[in-house]
Symmetry: C2
Subunit: 363 residues, 2 copies
């Protein structure tokens, strides 16, 4: 646990390193922060799942990585969203457990969105195991997602001042659906010409698809701990910028990442023809699209060596540099928003640690 002394609501100018110097202990790293928040949330999350229809609960435990179908060890997500909700409560000087209903709600909603997105995107693997729709069938996976969605909302309906909390979640849900709709529609648009996807549209999609729920997590935690509306709104914005940075980092890894550490095939996003920022930025900087556009639009051209050639062309046209610049810009914006608020220094330090680790994809 964070020492209580660190939660005083003083101006937020203390860095994690400075905090460590003051207290004489090393600040927790991102892994420790995530673990502490997961441990705080776990009992309520387990209790919520236990109340579901038994078959649906079994699927929910599989999806959340709480139980393998053969009884083997768990394959959990990192719990980023639940950590943001707990830290959101602590950052406004509330107790971490005040944020727990928010943590449970966003974790359930995040899992719901993964279940349904895997169906929509035809992704057969999730965290190195068969996706739920592969393990149980499409229909049951749709149903399990619906159950988690309803349970997430129900968790908030039981909190004081439920209207505001539910509204915060449904706004994020609306964005989540809109972002996923945009992403699906991007796939049908051309790489070049007036109908091509531009970098601004990409940023809007990423904010909705990835940022909305991260923002909601932070905002819900703070709201449940009694924060003022303007603080809640700033924290929502913080999470949204973090989400765009996180998504861009994911895109860069999707082209240049080491398959050993990403767990994804090398150049996977390129082969699938995904409209990610590095590619869009490279095309934007290449009049007429050049050789890159030709590779992307010629059937079979990305098989074998073509995909390496495309990656090199994207890098040469500045697509990687621009994407990394954009990720840094959104991370800086997220940090600036945190700094502008009068947050408790201990949780603020933990939030900063988590933001950096997420944007660098080191957790």
């Amino acid at each position: 646990m964070t020492p209580t002394a660190l939660r005083r609501p003083t101006a937020a100018t203390v860095t994690p390193a400075a905090t460590a110097n003051r207290t004489g202990t090393a600040p927790p790293d991102a892994g420790n922060i995530l673990r502490r928040c997961r441990d705080l949330t776990a009992p309520a999350l387990t209790e919520a799942i236990d109340g579901l229809h038994p078959w649906v609960a079994e699927m929910a435990r599989y999806a959340l990585g709480l139980r393998e179908p053969d009884g083997a060890g768990p394959s959990r997500g990192k719990g980023v969203r639940q950590a943001l909700a707990v830290l959101g409560a602590e950052a406004v000087s509330g107790p971490g457990h005040a944020g727990v209903p928010g943590a449970v709600a966003v974790e359930l909603v995040h899992t719901f969105s993964l279940l349904h997105d895997d169906i929509m995107d035809g992704d057969a693997l999730r965290r190195g195991r068969p996706a739920l729709w592969k393990a149980y069938g499409t229909g049951p996976a749709v149903l399990a997602g619906d159950a988690l969605f309803a349970l997430g909302v129900e968790t908030l309906a039981d909190t004081p001042h439920a209207g505001g909390a539910v509204r915060q979640l449904t706004t994020a849900l609306g964005d989540l659906v809109g972002g996923q709709a945009d992403d699906l529609l991007f796939a049908e648009r051309p790489w070049t010409g007036p109908e091509a996807v531009c970098a601004e549209e990409y940023a809007t999609m990423a904010e909705r698809k990835t940022g909305a729920l991260l923002g909601c997590a932070l905002a819900l935690g703070a709201r449940l701990a009694g924060a003022a509306d303007c603080t809640v709104a700033e924290l929502d914005g913080t999470g949204r910028h973090l989400g765009v940075a996180f998504q861009i980092a994911d895109d860069v890894l999707g082209v240049w990442g080491d398959p050993e550490s990403t767990g994804k095939p090398v150049h996977g996003d390129l082969r699938q023809g995904k409209k990610t920022l590095p590619v869009l930025a490279a095309l934007d900087a290449t009049p007429g699209g050049g050789e890159l556009a030709e590779l992307l639009t010629t059937p079979g051209a990305l098989d074998g060596d073509g995909v390496r050639r495309a990656a090199a062309l994207i890098e040469r046209a500045g697509g990687r540099t621009r994407a990394e610049h954009e990720a840094r810009r959104h991370l800086a914006e997220a940090r600036a928003r945190l700094t502008s608020l009068r947050l408790a220094p201990g949780p603020l330090g933990e939030l900063r640690t988590l933001l950096s680790a997420l944007a660098d994809r080191t957790v």
Copy 2:
């Protein structure tokens, strides 16, 4: 519109016929009641849909029958649930428009459940048109369902005392998911023996899958008009009994209904091997299952004449009689609950008219 004089909150002993005699006008029939409530709800429903992502809104309008893909005329649902929400508000002497957010929410949630159920059940047709997943693809139909679900919750989050209203909806949603899970699992269970589905399990499934949202509609309308908790709970129970009666009537039509009026193939449920009450009751009354069990379990035996033979065996074993008796019993229970409450006579009369028409499947 119902004349204002009919909405006085006096004890509810006036039948629709008596009401008509007092005012000198014929009481509205079920079609008129549904139309009035649809007209009252339509502007808010349209406004809610218009706020969705444009592509998702297009799918939502198709699913709600507000617009055909080729611009042709609408193919609407009857709007039973929205009518129950409006009448729920009026029955506790509130204005009909107080129930409109509830009407919008249950209509959206009902449409969401149809979209996802059609995917799960592989039903390619809905109201004589391709189901949304057939028209737009499975992934987009999952997404459109999610959007309607979120929008339904959001509609209630903006009402006063949102917590209770959202809780009412999420409880129904939990039941809806549980009922659908039971229904999917029934398909995998045997017709006879200790693992067979019994009539009590069927009733529980029907109450959750069909009754929960009908009960929620009535209860939400009353709750939004300021009714006491006990009145809200009784109206919820009313709708749940109505739902079981409605589902059983649907099952009887699924075996003996005229395809001309049901729009479904004759003996369709039997051919698909659905575990409906008439079949379960007939097997229950036949030691060892007899010839009926043999027909149901022998591959290909229900092709051609076999299905007519099965229908005759179900009728002879008393399956149809027992199902019709159960439907009447649940309808009587729904009516008794309405009568026990001090509801405004005009709306009470309309509710009774609607209950009868629904249980008889004449609307």
